[in-house]
Symmetry: C2
Subunit: 425 residues, 2 copies
């Protein structure tokens, strides 16, 4: 379903990855999985999210059949994964005709626009907040509660649902107000949570075969722990060991369907891998995400002739699955130099552009690897997600950091509270 | 209209910018402007684009009044600037109710979706290609020519228009086929072209007061050359002189209206400032663009605790202009900790988040600067665009590179042609 190819193993010493290092990294990941520091390792095997989501859907069949809008109130890890998967899969014929919207931005211009045409009667709002303390999410929830008079009667309450950590204040509030509340384990970090109920429930409501997403994730995970996906360990070792030389990793995705997956990757990589290491050294692999071929006209120049501090991962769809539309076989006077693509599919142009760009930057010595997806469906998407999560864990180990916390964002939150207090003095 | 503040001048030596260096850089920019290597310097003063666009619009008043879709076929510099300005200004009441669409991606999934509901009768297609050789643009143009039978009769031809370099093959083709063709000077690079006819004509069709955009650009330009915007020179010197330490510049924009401006900045910065310098050294300032507060939940951790290789430019709207909507004054049981924002406007939350984040990363020693726009309108947007173009020119000088070419993308184009020839053997 997915092919992975690396081109790291060049003659130069820095590309040399020892068998012992690979084994050491594998043992470290196994230890980490067993330590339960993050619950994401278990998600592909966990039936809880599927069972609880199915049961909610079964109990509300009629109500959910009349839904035209599914509105997620959540930010960061509570929105990016779900958005990524829906954008990659929305071409599937059985995806229900439900508008998926996200209320995440506290931007005044955006809020009013987003809700302009939304009536409560055909909408379901799902508030997703792990901690229950995210100020954007709570403020937007208050706005929705007021605008739609959600607590006016029991019928209105049906249009609201919560997904949160076990034991969080949102769970207490949900129980107190008699709002349907689903929970996830606290050790599943936001950016690693898309295969939990946070992704599963909304995706199931949208009509996707979520069991296949978990199946895809399980396959990669099984293979990895059976030592059949060694490229993950090798890539983590290459990137981690060469962090001072190639400290930026670019994900260059050749299709617009990867737009939101790109954002998910940036969060996963950025929040997980930008940390103080055990000895207090500031450490990071900086993620940048691009869309091809568009960004060949924007960022490629910098990759080729800028400082050699970047590795590039190409992600693309196998062209054979998309034979239409084709570039018409027309020759235009004065523009004959473009005829070499005539009669080809646009997909073939796109994939050849990706391969040409890859070759060109390899010639400059830029380390590259390449992920090709044969067909974009639930299973391949599940594999892609799990691949990136395992890669992030492995890179975190090589960098000697905790990939699962985000202590660096706390100070800003404290200053924010002070600023509001000052105002009210 | 726009306030600029830098916080670079800390005690540390690297922040020390000498008066002599500022003067030297100013002279270099003046020489460059006089050398005509790039025509963008003159655009704010050039009436040609306005006159030619007005005259086209006057000649086609009735036709343009019936347009519902304005579709730009163009990529990179031919689409990013226009998209950026329209997204920043689309809230203006007199912006016409015309759908602005871009055909730029050769992605098979995107092409068919984009044109699904588009009829020729109420659409105008503008093909924008400076060189006339961009393979994506020409392929998409052929697709449109065929789908809508544009050359079937004279009436259909009215729905097509070209903007291209003087003397390009597209100009020859346009004249040959009797298609309305507007030209720009060859020395105006794509990423510096938004204040030329490339931006002016479409923006005028959309109803914007384009003369005010040029006025805003002119004001910054006049001030800069009158030595009243020294912060531009200082910022370029700071970033250029410290390129080995702070080689990434982040633009952290606090409003969703800056989404496309961010992409424009990434292209401008990436393609202009990633180059071999005069002595063949690979040189760059790498651009990354974020949206606040969303990306506080995605990338901020990395800025705070990752490697100290980033400077951050904050861009935000003055909150006073957006007093609504407000965060309702509701206290929710178990969630009282969020009450500190109750009754404030969402805009005030957003701006305080921006200020808090800025303070927090300044404490870590990250160099920051801050652009605040009082009111988003044609004039301030024109100033913002010109500010960034002048800054890019100045940074290019400090880096000792040619900011106006992009030789690094040629090899990939050559390989692409080879790949198609191999296929047809």
């Amino acid at each position: 379903m997915i092919k992975f190819r690396e081109y790291f193993n060049k003659s130069s010493q820095i590309y040399d990855i020892k068998k012992d290092s690979i084994n050491a990294l594998f043992r470290a990941i196994c230890d980490e999985r067993n330590s339960n520091i993050s619950g994401y390792y278990k998600l592909p095997y966990d039936k809880k999210s599927i069972l609880e989501s199915s049961s909610y859907i079964k109990d509300n069949v009629k109500f959910l059949n009349n839904i035209s809008n599914l509105i997620i109130i959540g930010i960061g890890g509570s929105s990016l994964g779900l958005k990524a998967i829906d954008t990659m899969l929305s071409h599937l014929s059985y995806r229900k005709n439900i508008n998926l919207k996200f209320l995440e931005h506290t931007d005044p211009i955006k809020i009013e626009k987003s809700l302009k045409k939304i009536k409560l009667s055909d909408s379901l709002f799902i508030v997703i907040s792990k901690s229950g303390g995210t100020i954007e999410t709570l403020s937007l929830m208050k706005y929705v509660l007021k605008k739609y008079k959600i607590f006016k009667n029991e019928a209105n309450k049906k249009h609201l649902c919560f997904i949160t950590d076990k034991g969080s204040p949102i769970e207490s509030f949900g129980n107190f107000k008699n709002i349907k509340t689903l929970t996830i384990d606290k050790n599943i970090g936001g950016r690693f949570s898309v295969l939990s109920t946070i992704g599963v429930l909304p995706l199931m409501i949208l009509g996707y075969r979520v069991d296949k997403i978990l199946l895809g994730a399980r396959k990669i995970s099984n293979n990895f722990f059976d030592r059949k996906e060694e490229h993950i360990l090798k890539k983590a070792l290459f990137l981690g060991n060469n962090r001072d030389k190639f400290h930026i990793n670019i994900l260059f995705s050749y299709s617009s369907v990867f737009k939101d997956f790109n954002s998910w990757y940036v969060q996963l990589w950025g929040e997980s891998l930008g940390k103080l290491n055990s000895f207090g050294r500031k450490t990071a692999l900086t993620p940048i995400a691009l869309i091809g071929s568009i960004d060949q006209h924007s960022f490629l120049q910098l990759i080729v002739q800028g400082v050699m501090d970047k590795s590039v991962t190409f992600l693309s769809l196998h062209q054979k699955s998309y034979e239409k539309p084709k570039i018409p076989n027309i020759s235009l006077k004065f523009l004959e130099s473009s005829n070499f693509v005539n009669g080809s599919s646009f997909a073939s142009l796109l994939q050849k552009q990706q391969l040409s760009t890859m070759e060109a930057i390899q010639k400059e010595g830029v380390p590259t690897d390449y992920i090709e997806i044969k067909e974009l469906n639930e299973e391949s998407v599940g594999s892609l997600i799990m691949y990136y999560e395992l890669l992030t864990s492995a890179a975190g180990k090589v960098l000697d950091i905790n990939a699962y916390d985000q202590p660096g964002v706390e100070l800003g939150k404290k200053i924010l509270v002070t600023k509001f207090k000052e105002k009210n003095k």
